[in-house]
């Protein structure tokens, strides 16, 4: 089966800073691909380009064999290319439920409906509850997103992404900000999710990465320096030097 | 019941508030002189501010008519307010007397039996200056006015009388602050005369900047630009500027002299034509009620009495044309500094005698 996502020679600069340099990458469907690399290596920038928030200077992006390079963020999202944000990006004035229900609404088709009360849409709310339960925010449905704690917001961020029913999910540091307990729970969640949806995971929590990833790529200074099976990456001296350090690799 | 109610609607907010103030004060002065009575009846005056917003003016006028049950509505200052309130007032049982705004439409076809103007038809003042420029033999004139209806009418009025070359005709945005672009143009064009209509603060700015730019060698003719409402701010910059008016504070008749003295004593400022016209309006109402025998309910008698205009005007002669606009003399005026340091306009020469407006022929009233 062909790749669900294919990057061809993606390049992006911010002034003198090259954040993506001729990146070529293929994601196989049904697998979880982890992307690691030092701070400022260009991981988030890459996710931004794949999701359409940032236009690459050169190169092309194929999603399910369609060239999406010129499509906007929203158009890609409608095709099932969904991302989560490194800094939780929510609707602070909406309840947790509404945040997720809106994501479900995006999936459900046209929102140019002017009369039916959205808050009473049982189908959307039901889907939203399922997603919230999955991330463990079942008790917080009515809370306004702005009043959640940092970790809770991160969980909500994941719930929103889930409710979009993605075909490819781009996760930007989903474990950041989660407590010890919650991290373990999120790990379990992603384990089951792996069977449902293809994922590209950016994460600095190596425990999680090596527990989850089928493939790992390493980005340093905007360049992919290594790609392969987790064990091989963990042992690679170059990766150790640039990113892992001795302790984590051990 | 021995009482006459007057509703006055003038602009009392924003920069033009000074004009509304003059009208209010001029009218009040007359009533005071008449011992608080008009036509022998106790005068009760309600003053409201139209805020220069036509829709608000309509509401206010309805309030005057229905809440205060006024017999006369006196006002407004501005033409666009007049357009909005003419219908509601004339359709009621009250008379509308305008102490300032006198638009052409109500002078012609749309003239109304219950509407009187004690000032002039708007075009006339501009014609005075056009006529003067023509008589003086100026070859070319530079015209300048803000870009709105009154501004366009002003230049048309001037051109009706002036047949020389128009060096340029410039319209500026309403409320413009800085005239250096126009002044540079004037300097380049070197016209024989400049004619402008720049009411209020715009006029103050223009006159000061005209003087600062060293252009005072070119005769400066203007209407509603240098009068007693703006002179305290223009001061020396305006001295010598020419204007057109139906009256000036140095008008040589006893009633006018007394009026100017009383006004200055009461309000500490030299009255402009606005105050004069308001004063005359009060006198007109006084005369009409008297002539009609104090019976406010007899509208036809009152109307006939108003139309007679049988009062001693500060301008000397005064009578109404068929369209209820005045027939009167118009003068060329010149700004001067008085001995006491105050500034006023002074009459230079009479330009029109017993001058009626040209729209009256379209008015069906007899």
């Amino acid at each position: 089966m062909s790749a669900i996502l294919r990057l061809e020679g993606l390049s992006k600069r911010f002034g003198a800073l090259a954040v993506s340099q001729d990146i070529c990458l293929e994601l196989a469907p049904g697998r979880l691909h982890a992307l690691i690399g030092p701070n400022g290596a260009g991981k988030t920038s890459l996710i931004n380009q794949i999701s359409g928030a940032l236009a690459p200077d050169a190169g092309r992006i194929f999603f399910e064999d369609e060239d999406v390079t010129r499509l906007g963020l929203a158009q890609r999202a409608r095709r099932g290319l969904v991302r989560s944000f490194q800094v939780a990006s929510l609707f602070d004035g909406f309840s947790a439920l509404d945040n997720v229900a809106l994501a479900a609404q995006a999936r459900a088709g046209s929102s140019f409906r002017f009369f039916a009360r959205a808050g009473k849409a049982a189908d959307l709310n039901a889907k939203a509850r399922v997603a919230l339960d999955r991330v463990g925010l079942g008790e917080r449905v009515g809370r306004r997103a702005g009043e959640l704690s940092h970790g809770e917001r991160r969980l909500l961020e994941i719930a929103v992404a889930l409710a979009c029913q993605p075909r490819l999910l781009l996760l930007d540091e989903p474990f950041a900000g989660l407590g010890v307990e919650e991290s373990a729970e999120a790990l379990a969640l992603l384990q089951t999710l792996k069977t449902e949806v293809t994922m590209l995971l950016v994460e600095h929590d190596m425990e999680a990465v090596f527990a989850l990833a089928d493939d790992v790529s390493v980005l340093v200074g905007g360049r992919l320096i290594a790609s392969g099976a987790p064990e091989a990456i963990r042992q690679s001296p170059a990766v150790r030097e640039a990113y892992l350090g001795e302790e984590e690799a051990a | 019941e021995g009482k006459v109610k007057i509703g006055m609607i003038v602009t009392l907010s924003g920069p033009p508030a000074v004009l509304g103030g003059q009208i209010r004060d001029g009218f009040a002065l007359a009533v005071k002189k008449l011992g608080g009575k008009l036509g022998g009846l106790d005068a009760d005056i309600v003053v409201v501010d139209d805020q220069l917003k036509p829709d608000i003016a309509v509401t206010k006028v309805k309030g005057l008519l229905e809440r205060d049950h006024v017999d006369f509505v006196v006002g407004p200052v501005f033409s666009n307010i007049l357009q909005a309130i003419e219908k509601p007032v004339t359709a009621s049982s009250a008379f509308l007397i305008s102490p300032n705004a006198g638009t052409s439409n109500f002078a012609g076809k749309q003239c109304n039996a219950n509407f009187f103007v004690t000032s002039y038809q708007n075009d006339q003042v501009h014609e005075v200056l056009g006529k003067y420029a023509q008589d003086k033999g100026y070859k070319s004139a530079f015209l300048l006015a803000p870009n709105y209806q009154a501004g366009r009418d002003a230049l048309d009025g001037f051109k009706k009388q002036f047949k020389g070359r128009i060096a340029d005709e410039v319209y500026t945005p309403l409320g413009q602050l800085d005239f250096s672009a126009e002044l540079a143009k004037i300097a380049a064009d070197k016209p024989d005369a400049v004619f402008t209509f720049m009411p209020g603060g715009m006029g103050v700015n223009l006159v000061k900047q005209y003087a600062q730019a060293g252009l005072k060698t070119i005769p400066f003719l203007s209407a509603f630009t240098t009068d007693e409402s703006t002179l305290p701010a223009q001061k020396d910059a305006a001295v010598g500027d020419l204007g057109g008016a139906n009256w000036a504070p140095d008008m040589d008749n006893p009633q006018s002299k007394a009026f100017v003295a009383a006004y200055e004593a009461a309000y500490g400022a030299v009255p402009a034509t606005y105050a004069m016209q308001a004063y005359d309006t009060a006198m007109l109402i006084d005369s009409a009620i008297r002539t009609a025998g104090g019976k406010l309910s007899d509208r036809d008698a009152l109307r006939a009495a108003l139309k007679k205009g049988d009062f001693v005007s500060l301008r000397g002669g005064f009578k109404f044309s068929t369209n209820h606009y005045p027939i009167q003399d118009f003068y060329l005026t010149k700004v001067a500094k008085r001995a006491d340091g105050k500034y006023e306009t002074e009459i230079v020469e009479r330009v029109f005698k017993d001058y009626g407006d040209s729209y009256a022929k379209d008015c069906p009233l007899k």
């Binding site: 409906r113 | 501010d49 036509p54 829709d55 309030g63 357009q83």
Partner: protein, 308 residues
Amino acid sequence: MNWRAVVPGFGFAALALVPLAARWGPEAYALNLATRALIFALAAMSLQFMLGCGGLVSFGQAAYLGLGAYAAAILARYGGGDLLLEAGTAIPAAALFAVATSAISLRAKGVYYIMSTLAFGQMLYFFFVSLSALGGDDGVTLDARARLAGTDWLASDRAFYYAALAALALGYLLLDRIVGSRFGRVLGAIRQNPLRVRALGFEPFRYQLAACAISAALCAVAGVLLANLNSFVSPAFMTWQRSGDLIVMTVLGGVGSLGGAILGALAYLLASELVSTYTEHSGLWIGPALVLVALRGRGLAGLVWGGR
């Protein structure tokens, strides 16, 4: 049925009683004042929809008011003076103008958006000022009040009041539904976090454009009514100060609450009128009152029914 739904019901019922009360006073005056207040309430509510729900502070709202008014004036002059026809013309005209200008304004955000709506409002204002055919700055007088579906019911001030009230109530119901609908939810989300909305797959631009058109259409209806109320139309209806007044009414009422906008408009206009009957210096009283409401926050709606 919760009490939040009941309050507007009572509110409109109370407004329906005004003409009956007016009979004991200076009727035409009271009705004129009240009708004008209702019309501005409609305009303020249309702004509230954009501003409170969509986060789009339009500083050119008076342009739509003016468009509606001029549509009425032009139709009246050429014999098409029927309220339905006038509204039917004004609505698409204003919506079209809104779509055309918002397509440009919406590129800008925040103050930049505010100022570009001002720019278009001012352009329309100057257009009408220099349009001598319609009286320019002096405006035009309408010969008579519009007819309603061929009848002359509206000639009566009382009937006209009820027409305005009906327009306001219908507008309220309509907007209230829209705010709570899927469309409204997306609009509210865009206000809070446009990037997130795009990441979910919505194009904010389309929703905001639609919101502008809806708001403009409603405001144009207010314009039609205003023209007929005064039988007069002039560019003074569409100065930037008017747009500013509408913003003030809306914020005074309480950002985000449709009922608040109505309350704000009524309070602002009636208080101004009331104060000005007692003093020439109404600014000395109205000004501090506005400051106090602002300091307290959440507007009058916050006072009456505790927040949004």
